[in-house]
């Protein structure tokens, strides 16, 4: 399978702290890749480098062969890389529906000075996507009133509005209760459904990783410690010692 995303020798330092150290990785289209590692291992830094929030000190990032290393978040998003956040980034004082309409408007090319945001078509489109994420019942609610799990789903639904090629989820189940984690991931997986989207998700829960990832990349001290199928990576001695803490 051809690589949709290539990172070549990415390095990022914050003073003496090495957040990314010569990270090279190829992601094939359609893969569901889980990024694992202890706190400070470099997972979120990697996501932030890919999405343009941070610029690498060294290295390059290619999206479908195009160099996106110097581009900012807006341009990278326009090229088809969407993301959700560890702390959901939403418009808290707006309704769920308004958040979805904002998401739709942002990705529809040039913003109009006179074309109404709230039309029957935009509302239907927003409701259709909310339905896929099981959020329609919350459509009229103000985001500030929503529980954490619903906010997480809304954050992902907004990222999915424009059918991205690559979706990066930064800890999609953090802050969600144990009972809700699997139903939530099931909802996300079902919502992605037939979409040919490549997914990279940062995750700490190894049960989630085992169940939903087709490939696992383990980070430690800004380096890639192991890369492969969930079974192989989670059985790796170094991963057990430095990441999962299951080594005896």
């Amino acid at each position: 399978m051809s690589a949709i995303l290539c990172a070549r020798e990415l390095s990022k330092h914050f003073g003496a702290v090495v957040a990314a150290d010569q990270v090279s990785i190829d992601i094939a289209a359609g893969e569901h890749v889980s990024l694992i590692g202890s706190n400070g291992a470099g997972k979120t830094t990697f996501v932030n480098l890919i999405t343009g929030y941070l610029k690498p000190d060294h290295g390059e990032i290619l999206l479908e062969g195009r160099d996106i290393t110097a581009l900012g978040p807006t341009q990278i998003t326009q090229l088809g890389v969407a993301r959700s956040f560890q702390i959901p980034q939403l418009c808290a004082e707006m309704s769920v529906l308004d958040n979805m309409i904002v998401a739709a408007a942002c990705g529809d090319g040039a913003l109009s000075f006179w074309k109404r945001a709230h039309t029957q078509a935009t509302q239907q489109r927003a409701h259709a996507l909310l339905e896929r994420f099981g959020l329609n019942a919350h459509a009229a609610r103000r985001v500030a009133e929503l529980p954490g799990g619903v906010r997480k789903l809304l954050d992902i639904a907004m990222a999915m509005t424009h059918r991205p090629k690559i979706l990066l989820l930064d800890e999609p189940t953090s802050g969600v209760s144990t009972e809700e984690k699997f139903p939530m991931m099931d909802t996300v997986t079902a919502a992605l459904g037939s979409e040919a989207v490549t997914v990279l998700f940062v995750e700490h829960d190894m049960d989630i990783v085992t169940r939903y990832a087709t490939r696992v990349v383990a980070f430690y001290s800004g380096r890639i410690l192991a890369d492969g199928t969930p079974a192989r990576v989670l059985a790796d001695d170094e991963v057990k010692r430095y990441v999962t803490g299951t080594a005896h």
Binding site: T74, T77, A82, C91, A92, M94, A105, L111, W114, H118
Partner: protein, 318 residues
């Protein structure tokens, strides 16, 4: 918020027509006060437009003075006297003045944006005070404008200028309402709430804020043009920080939900100022301050929230 655009336009046209008819019945002092309310309200409407994106300009006197001086110079030096043309010219000159600064200012938020705009307006104030060719600190007079090539008779000048100010304010209010309800208007609100999310949805927040700044500048210039036509005199104080402060005062008083509230707030300011300066000539600023404190205490989202809440309440009851 979800009313049809056509309804918005029709309501705006009917409201403007009613005000035009009402003008024939108003005494001269109230006619002038309403004319100034409309002119200044347009400037504040520009600030409200920026407030919806999360920034407040403390230097709108820059474009107010820019539009005013340009119009006065066009009339006195170039012989352009048509009131409508001058208003458009005032807006255009102010927008051109803002254009070089807009992309830079669009990168700043909060107090940094406010202080940079304030600094720009005070730079213009300093230049105007020191420029003898523009009358220095005394400013200069402007000849009375014409309308469609016709000289405005003395007896009608008050009403005609009122009608022009109300008609232009009405037109800009309708356009502002359409803009607020557009996709760009909604994204402006989203930037105010969460700029990071908007950037990661693929919209350029800098472009949206740049456009907002230039539109607000056009409104500031048009307001300045209308104000100087009503006053017949311009001076550097148009660009002074206290003038900018009054526009911000009106914007805070109005809140960022309603276009109509901006003009109501502008009218209230003129009324309070007018009566306070008549009855408490040395302490009228204190009266204004107390008035603002009362509004912030009891209507923290501005007077526009009154009918927003009423509409929500009515919607919930229906």
């Amino acid at each position: 918020m979800k009313h049809d655009t056509r309804n918005t336009a029709v309501a705006g046209v009917i409201g403007t027509a009613l005000l035009l008819a009402l003008g024939a019945l108003l005494p001269k002092w109230l006619l002038f006060l309403t004319t100034m309310s409309a002119a200044n309200g347009i400037v504040s409407l520009g600030i409200v437009l920026m407030m919806r994106g999360g920034v407040v300009s403390f230097g709108q006197g820059l474009v107010f003075a820019g539009g005013g001086y340009a119009v006065a110079l066009f009339a006195n030096r170039l012989g352009v006297t048509d009131a409508l043309l001058l208003t458009l010219a005032g807006g255009a000159v102010a927008a051109l003045m803002a254009l070089p600064f807009a992309p830079l200012l669009a990168r700043y938020r909060g107090i940094f944006f406010s202080m940079l705009t304030l600094a720009l307006s005070m730079v213009l104030y300093g230049v105007l005070v020191k420029t003898d060719a523009l009358g220095g600190s005394d400013g200069f007079n402007m000849s009375r404008p014409t309308l469609f090539g016709m000289r405005i008779a003395d007896a009608w000048s008050g009403y005609v200028l009122y009608a022009i100010a109300v008609a232009i304010a009405g037109a800009l209010a309708i356009l502002a309402r359409i803009y607020f309800e557009s996709t760009r208007g909604l994204v402006s609100l989203a930037i105010r709430e969460n700029e990071l999310r908007v950037a990661y949805l693929g919209a350029s927040t800098t472009r949206v804020m740049t456009a907002n700044f230039v539109i607000a500048a056009f409104m500031g210039g048009a307001g300045g043009a209308l104000a100087i036509m009503a006053l017949g005199h311009i001076e550097p104080n148009f660009s002074y920080w206290t003038t900018s402060g009054e526009f911000v005062f009106v914007s805070i008083l109005a809140g960022h939900y309603s276009v109509l509230a901006v003009f109501v707030a502008s009218f209230l300011l003129e009324l309070v100022r007018s009566f306070s300066s008549a009855y408490f000539p040395n302490t009228w600023q204190m009266a204004l301050g107390i008035f603002l404190l009362i509004v912030i205490r009891f209507l923290p989202r501005g007077i526009g929230s009154l009918w927003l809440d009423w509409r929500k309440h009515r919607g919930a009851g229906a």
